[in-house]
């Protein structure tokens, strides 16, 4: 590598470093302010906490006590895990079935699933809420089949794409040996689907964990999820917002996502690329 390129590269390195600082700054600002007393956040947001303004973890204690954020956290985790498991199991089964059994009806369902991906949520939000309330799906258990319904478009599409490229011979051999279709699917097919299952799981988990409008409409303000709890904390008490507690809530909402990201980064990036190419 010649010197000209080396100088260019160190310049680019410095530029990227500067950009990283800019990218991390908003998160740093929230984190720093979460340790300041609530009266010093609005007035002097850029000042680093000092002897006078530093309050330790007081904001975290207040934020946790007043907003029910721990409950919201557990609720969101339950809904996300439950829905993702349901989506992975049921949509992979459906995708395998409609690819393997050729019929006009199955083709029609496949295109309906595809169609659902282009419909914005606002189109169905009012009527869907009414239907779900009638069916008593407006609770943290009932919302799982609701997510299965809304998640099925993308998930069936992605699983089908994979199944179409899978050889039939192994499945046929298993069935000739006397395995039922159900056993064949779970013992032979599903293990082969695993890479796609991870991608589908990550895409759905990111969506459900952060989702706001659907849980807001179905669970309302009593069974708050994280996003709903944050929105309520901000809108609920105009004029008397506890900025300290609010900053702490934001930090508590961000930390698990960042930890999850740092652990599963490889899969998340792969999921994004696969999802983009197919979606």
């Amino acid at each position: 590598m010649n010197t000209k390129r080396k100088t260019a590269n160190s310049f680019y390195f410095a530029l990227l470093l500067l950009l990283s600082v800019i990218f991390l700054f908003p998160i740093y600002l929230v984190l720093m302010n979460s340790f300041k007393s609530k009266f010093n956040i609005v007035g002097t947001p850029f000042e680093f906490p000092n002897g006078e303004t530093f309050v330790g973890i007081e904001n975290y204690i207040n934020g946790i006590n007043s907003s029910g954020i721990i409950d919201a956290f557990l609720r969101t985790a339950f809904i996300t895990v439950g829905s993702v498991i349901a989506i992975i199991i049921f949509t992979s089964m459906t995708a395998w079935y409609i690819v393997r059994v050729k019929s006009k009806f199955n083709k029609a369902i496949y295109y309906l699933f595809l169609f659902s991906m282009i419909v914005p949520f606002q189109m169905v939000m009012f009527t869907m809420t009414a239907v779900c309330i009638k069916l008593n799906l407006n609770n943290i258990f009932g919302i799982i089949p609701v997510y299965l319904g809304f998640g099925s478009g993308l998930s069936v599409f992605m699983f089908s794409g994979f199944v179409k490229g899978m050889p039939r011979e192994i499945e046929e051999a298993a069935m000739i040996d006397g395995c039922s279709p159900l056993k064949t699917f779970f013992l032979v097919v599903f293990p082969i689907l695993k890479p796609t299952a991870i991608t589908v799981a990550i895409l759905n988990a990111m969506w459900i964990w952060n989702d706001f409008l659907l849980p807001y409409l179905l669970l309302g303000t009593t069974d708050k999820t994280l996003s709903v709890a944050i929105q309520i904390a901000m809108q609920g008490a105009y004029g008397s917002i506890d900025w300290g507690g609010f900053m702490a809530m934001l930090v508590l909402a961000i930390i698990p996502i960042i930890v999850f990201y740092l652990i599963c980064q490889k899969y998340i990036i792969k999921g994004v690329i696969d999802g983009a190419v197919k979606g």
Binding site: Y12, L15, W96, L148, A253
Partner: protein, 281 residues
């Protein structure tokens, strides 16, 4: 074998299909019907023909405002996000140390939920404007550019990852051959890199397009539409019509149908373009 599997329809397909039909298909059909009626709940609809559609465009200036705001926001976001994402992808595919660290940092904001993102930027922008004694609701321009910055912060890393994958797929020999022939870096970019990553560019353009057009959470958290309704985008305007104005639910549903038609048209154009590109290559 097919016959054998066929009998298992209730086990394999029914759970997914029943959920899908209940929460999506039936509400979708009801939604189209209700857009032609006056109603406050789904049970008391009265047929009114195209009344709601006419009202949405003539008696409700918020809708037209929201439509323009959304279009302007989408155009600016799509251009800036893709420009910066592509630039970063070019930088991160050079032999610079720390590329995986930088990629990690730039991608991170994408995972944070829209509501949280909105409030992070609300704090940051109000902190900056606070220096001159203003806040984000003072002028619609602040809200507009705030949303553009937020959207860039969230989506640049995502698009960058897709561009990086595209650039890394270019066969190495192409660049080498061009360099040996004495092509400049700019000419390599113009004649090799950009044409070769065209599929990624199409994907990213439409991902940013639909994501910006359908934006809701970030809009709600950053400005909530303030001042007045000037920074409401379409999705937020539809939400406010449904839940903020009694007797206007039908108009809200009509707006939602218009919204759906616009989004579907964009997607349809995308599919046409992508399939044509695939045939060409």
């Amino acid at each position: 074998m097919e016959k054998n599997i066929k009998r298992y329809f209730p086990v394999f397909v029914l759970p997914t299909l029943v959920s899908f039909v209940t929460v999506f298909l039936i509400p979708f059909i009801m939604g189209i019907y209700l857009s032609f009626t006056k109603f406050t709940t789904v049970d008391n609809a009265k047929w009114t023909g195209f009344d709601n559609y006419i009202k949405a465009f003539t008696q409700d200036e918020n809708f037209i405002n929201a439509l323009w705001f959304t279009v302007k926001f989408t155009v600016v976001s799509v251009i800036t996000i893709n420009f910066f994402a592509f630039l970063l992808a070019l930088l991160l595919t050079r032999a610079i140390k720390g590329t995986s660290f930088f990629r990690t940092v730039f991608f991170m904001p994408n995972l944070i939920g829209g509501i949280v993102l909105g409030y992070i930027w609300n704090l940051l922008i109000n902190a900056i404007l606070g220096i001159v004694g203003l806040d984000i609701t003072y002028d619609a321009r602040y809200g507009f550019w705030g949303l553009v910055f937020l959207m860039n912060w969230q989506l640049i890393g995502y698009m960058m990852v897709i561009y990086i994958a595209g650039i890394q797929n270019i066969p190495h020999e192409l660049n080498e051959a061009a360099r040996i022939d004495g092509a400049s870096s700019f000419s390599i970019l113009r004649n090799i890199t950009i044409p070769m990553v065209m599929p990624s560019i199409t994907i990213c353009l439409f991902l940013t397009l639909t994501n910006s057009f359908k934006l809701f959470d970030q809009n709600l958290a950053l400005t909530g539409g303030a001042p007045a309704r000037e920074t409401s985008m379409l999705a937020l305007d539809i939400f406010n019509t449904f839940y903020g104005r009694t007797g206007w639910q039908g108009v809200g549903q009509a707006k939602a149908v218009v919204f759906f038609i616009i989004v579907a048209t964009i997607t349809f154009i995308q599919l046409k373009i992508t399939s044509r590109k695939e045939v060409e290559s």
